[in-house]
Amino acid sequence: MARPPEPLSFAQQLDRLEAIVRQLEGQDLDLDAALKLFEEGVERLRDARERLLAAETQVKQVLADQAGRLKVEDFDA
């Protein structure tokens, strides 16, 4: 299975998927390349679905300390 080379943002992941689908639907592509694209597409779809289903909203709080440094901590709503 072709693993996505690096973690993409969700938006990038969807963009890549769109591109794969368009390529597959387009003309001239040898079967080998088509299969590779298909496998990558399946993998990315699975990954995207997992991301959506497993996600849980993170809420952080952003403050600046005395020295003006950015401080990010969990936010208790």
Partner: protein, 385 residues
């Protein structure tokens, strides 16, 4: 002192008052005799000093009074008044001793014009923003379709924040929310908001910002009409949704934002896609993916079929040719067969061992041999010669 201005105390030069004594006495008399009161008139000769104090005159057709409004009082107002403006001033009459001048210390100022000072300040700031192109609709950026990091600039304990978190968590739990807490109303709130927006600019990988608060009175919302706040919003490096909860009044913050939402909840909705919709979209992509591959492999199979048909055809033609060649060869072989010759009436003589007897010398008298003719063999004997 205290018993009123005793004019008779200075009837002769010997009893002369000092200037300071007179002005001090005059001030005491004025302040005791004229309680704080509302005065109406027209602003004239307005000047704001470096110190933040305002100096101007209130006048009508026949008189005028010098006025001062100290910074601690005028800072509550959205903007300075303009010359010629009709106002109501709540003021303490007094005497300014250093100049021996009767004047009003103004503590509050209302404009009688439409919208008053608030409107004036709003229009002034709006003009300044427009001049710098910050209100140009072409500036508005598209919101990212699948935001990951969203900054929320609002009060940490308001309903606005709770609403935004609830909506974002329900629709798009993929998001990380970065709450940048700030006061949103009251004195100095605009400074806090600008500082908070400064922090937003420093967040890494941010996709979107929401700035807002729940509904409130016009004065409560005024923080979002400060030109400085509007400029800080316009300067954010990511698209901004402004949700300063108010149906009717649009704030400057709304005007410079990339999108205006009526409420904080609406802002969170606009900021995020619905997870279920995106899952459906993934399904659609999945079927297109499968369809794409099927079509692709279908085309390949077709081509393979055509190729194999052509291969088979060629092979068969070749076999046929071989078959013909073989038949020809077989015919020729057949013609050469000795049996064919015997058919024509020849006979073949062989001895008991099967050797072919071809010469006379091989037939001594009385030799028994066999004759092979076309339909079989016969026994024979050579005669005595």
């Amino acid at each position: 002192m205290g018993e009123g201005l005793d004019l008779f105390a200075a009837v002769s030069p010997e009893g002369a008052w000092t200037v300071t004594q007179v002005t001090r006495r005059a001030r005491a008399v004025v302040e005791a005799g004229l309680a704080p009161l509302w005065v109406r008139g027209e602003i004239s000769g307005f000047k704001a000093w470096q110190s933040g104090h305002w100096y101007f005159a209130l006048r009508d057709r026949s008189a005028q009074i010098r006025c001062v409004m100290f910074q601690k009082d005028n800072r509550r107002l959205p903007a300075p008044p303009a010359d010629g403006m009709q106002v109501f001033a709540f003021a303490r009459p007094t005497v300014w001793e250093e100049k021996g001048e009767f004047r009003l210390t103004v503590v509050d100022l209302l404009s009688t014009e439409a919208g008053g000072l608030w409107q004036l300040a709003f229009e002034k700031a709006k003009r300044a923003l427009a001049k710098d192109g910050l209100l140009d609709p072409a500036r508005r950026r598209a919101l990212p379709p699948y935001p990951r990091r969203i900054a929320v600039v609002t009060s940490p304990d308001g309903a606005a924040l709770r609403d935004i978190i609830a909506v974002a968590a329900r629709r798009w739990p993929v998001a990380e929310l970065f709450v940048v807490p700030t006061r949103v109303q009251g004195e100095g709130a605009e400074d806090e908001i600008c500082a908070a927006l400064g922090l937003v600019c420093r967040l890494d990988g941010l996709d979107l910002a929401i700035i807002g608060r729940g509904g409130g009175s016009r004065e409560d919302l005024w923080t979002f009409n400060h030109e400085r706040v509007a400029r800080a919003v316009a300067a954010l490096p990511v698209p901004v949704i402004s949700a300063v909860g108010h149906e009717t009044d649009v704030t400057l913050c709304d005007l410079v934002a990339d999108l205006r939402a009526a409420t904080p909840s609406a802002a969170a909705e606009a900021a995020t896609p619905d997870r279920n919709d995106v899952l459906l979209e993934l399904d659609r992509l999945g079927s297109r993916l499968a369809g794409g591959l099927a079509a692709r492999s279908g085309r390949v199979t077709e081509r393979l079929d055509r190729t194999s048909d052509r291969l088979t055809g060629a092979l068969e033609r070749r076999l046929e040719r071989h078959r013909h060649e073989l038949a020809g060869l077989a015919g020729r072989l057949d013609a050469l067969s000795p049996l064919k010759i015997l058919e024509r009436g020849y006979a073949l003589a062989r001895d008991a061992q099967g050797r072919v007897l071809k010469r006379v010398a091989q037939f001594p008298g009385g030799l028994r041999f066999r004759l092979r003719i076309t339909d079989g063999e016969v026994a024979a004997r050579a005669g005595e010669s």
